[in-house]
């Protein structure tokens, strides 16, 4: 089924895009991540211009996270205060990301920047998750997990203006989540990802947040940050392709529901191990692509009509 994408200016196989959305949806349901980290690179492999891919993927993540937020909130899994601070940082981050995006676009290095960010972020997170999942899996029955030495990172305790976040069970400076939100917002704008795969471990291990509100709060943040990035892209790059978004959404919202149901039937450690393997393999593919001669040595950039 051929579908013409009016912003990307080309015709694609609609069913394939729906299937791609479905795949990322299943992942987001299974792992509680947006799945944008998979959508953007796959869309680029398919031939969608990178800017359109990143912009449209972030819009799709909005849809995928809505039902997650609703579900998490119904069981009190969202810390709105913490979420608000993260979002405030995220908005600034999205603005910063937009400036960086424009800058790298004008010097022609946006593709390389996106690729390197993917390799570094996915590589680090994948390795961390994989190690942790393996440790949990191979721990003998009855053996207790090793005690955590500290609740949060020493840098977090060093920040001034402490505040009590009740739901998260934290007494820390709001500057820490603000900066974290800023970093994730910037990455969202640049990479077209929700940032869940960065935010979840960061909230757990850097801030030391209670595990039962981590996923919900992360999704809550992603929801608003991707809304902001969509608007930002619409105003600056004008690269959000509504038709592409609709196709991805059909797949991903359905996939997300299937994924959520599947998630209850598999051991969480195995899930995390699979996610780690997936994240690492994408990082390797991207690293490999950076190192080999690209199919197209030349790329065309339209200049503004003077």
């Amino acid at each position: 089924m051929d579908v013409y994408l009016p912003i990307a200016n080309l015709s694609v196989n609609g069913l394939l895009i729906v299937a791609l959305g479905g795949l990322t949806g299943i992942l987001s349901g299974l792992f509680g991540v947006g799945g944008g980290f998979l959508t953007t690179p796959l869309l680029i492999f398919y031939g969608i211009p990178p800017t359109v891919a990143a912009a449209s993927a972030s819009t799709q993540v909005t849809g995928a996270s809505v039902s997650g937020v609703i579900a998490q909130n119904s069981r009190g899994g969202v810390d709105f205060q913490m979420g608000a601070v993260l979002i405030a940082g995220g908005m600034v981050g999205a603005g910063l990301g937009a400036i960086l995006f424009r800058f790298f676009q004008s010097v022609g290095q946006i593709d390389v920047v996106i690729n390197i960010l993917y390799v570094v972020m996915l590589g680090t997170i994948g390795a961390m998750m994989g190690r942790e999942a393996l440790q949990t899996l191979f721990r003998k029955d009855g053996e207790k997990p090793p005690p955590r030495r500290r609740r949060h990172h020493p840098l977090v305790t060093a920040l001034p203006l402490r505040y009590r976040f009740y739901r998260s069970g934290l007494y820390i400076s709001p500057l820490a989540p603000l900066l974290l939100g800023l970093a994730v917002g910037t990455l969202t704008m640049l990479m077209g990802v929700g940032g869940g795969f960065i935010l979840v471990p960061a909230l757990l291990y850097i801030l030391g947040m209670s595990a039962n509100v981590v996923v919900g709060t992360s999704l809550f943040n992603i929801l608003f940050v991707t809304i902001a990035t969509t608007i930002m892209h619409s105003l600056t790059t004008k690269a959000v392709d509504m038709v592409l978004v609709a196709l991805l959404l059909i797949g991903s919202v359905t996939g997300a529901q299937i994924g959520t149901k599947l998630a209850f039937q598999v051991k969480p450690e195995i899930l995390r191990l699979v996610l780690a393997a997936l994240v690492l393999s994408i990082a390797f593919v991207m690293l490999f692509k950076l190192g080999v001669r690209p199919d197209e040595v030349y790329t065309v950039q339209l200049l503004e009509n003077v």
Binding site: D2, V3, Y4, P6, I7, N9, L10, S11, T59, Q60, T62, G63, A64, S65, V66, S67, I70, A71, G108, Q109, D111, V112, I116, I227, T230, I231, M232, H233, S234, L235, T236, K238, V240, M242, V243, V245, A246, L249, I250, V253, T254, A256, Q257, L290, G291, V292, R293, P294, E296, V297, Y298, T299, V300, Q301, L302, L303, E304, N305, V306
Partner: protein, 250 residues
């Protein structure tokens, strides 16, 4: 009426001996809408002798279809410290978004390279107007790179056997536009050549434009960025919410 004028004008200009070209195109408007996967244009016409008989001589026909020209920057990737990244770039003030040449015989058998370069008979001869100071060798490398890239994208092409001439009077040629064509005004130029000399030429135009929903999407994305963004956000939220609701019922 237009043709009569054309014929009249051609008569006045070309003296008695040279023939007149009467070109026509299968559609003067290409509508890009949902399901557009490209289209094929039929460029056809007649070669007339001013005395009203058929031309009678051996002619070759060359058809050049070109899309709107755009100023572009072409970037070249090179290996820097183990990774491939953009390094040098070159600007072209008028790179056609689409360029196709079709001829009744291979161009080199019809005209010499000088004539071919003047009339842009072939993808090697596209006048790209490079700008900025850049030496000739480099310019050539960039021009070749651009032509090669767009040839593989199906945007630049030449077909040495693409025009068929019937009875020395009628000619026809098919040129396909891929789905990734740029919208705008395309010009189709037809040239009649004999003994290495262009003896008649004529121009027609094709308008390629988005219509309906596709046009609305493009226009609103360009002009009403904020509203467009809000609609996109609403669409995502609504779909996400709806799916949650539907699946909760199952």
């Amino acid at each position: 009426m237009r043709y009569l004028l054309l014929i009249f004008a051609a008569l006045m200009l070309s003296g008695q001996r040279d023939p007149i070209l009467v070109p026509e195109i299968s559609q003067h408007e290409v509508r890009v809408r949902q399901g557009f996967t490209g289209t094929e244009l039929l460029l056809f016409g007649a070669i007339l002798d001013p005395r009203g008989q058929r031309a009678g001589r051996e002619y070759d026909i060359i058809v050049v279809l070109r899309g709107p020209s755009e100023p572009i920057r072409l970037r070249e990737k090179e290996r820097v410290g183990g990774i491939w990244m953009n390094t040098e770039s070159s600007d072209f003030r008028s790179a056609p978004a689409f360029f196709a040449v079709a001829s009744s015989r291979p161009i080199e058998e019809i005209v010499d390279t000088k004539t071919a370069a003047i009339y842009e008979f072939g993808t090697d001869y596209i006048q790209l107007s490079p700008s900025g100071v850049i030496d000739t060798d480099e310019q050539l490398r960039f021009s070749r790179g651009l032509v090669d890239l767009r040839t593989r994208e199906g945007l630049y092409k030449q077909d040495m056997d693409g025009v068929t001439i019937t009875e020395q009077v009628l000619y026809q040629s098919r040129i396909s536009l891929p789905s990734n064509v740029v919208t705008g005004t395309y010009t189709a130029e037809t040239f009649a050549v004999t003994r290495g000399r262009v003896i008649a030429s004529a121009v027609t135009q094709v308008e390629v434009r988005k219509v309906g929903f596709e046009r609305a999407v493009e226009v609103s994305a360009e002009n009403y960025g904020l509203l467009y963004g809000l609609v996109a956000v609403f669409l995502s939220i609504f779909t996400g919410w709806l799916a949650g609701r539907l699946f909760a019922m199952v």
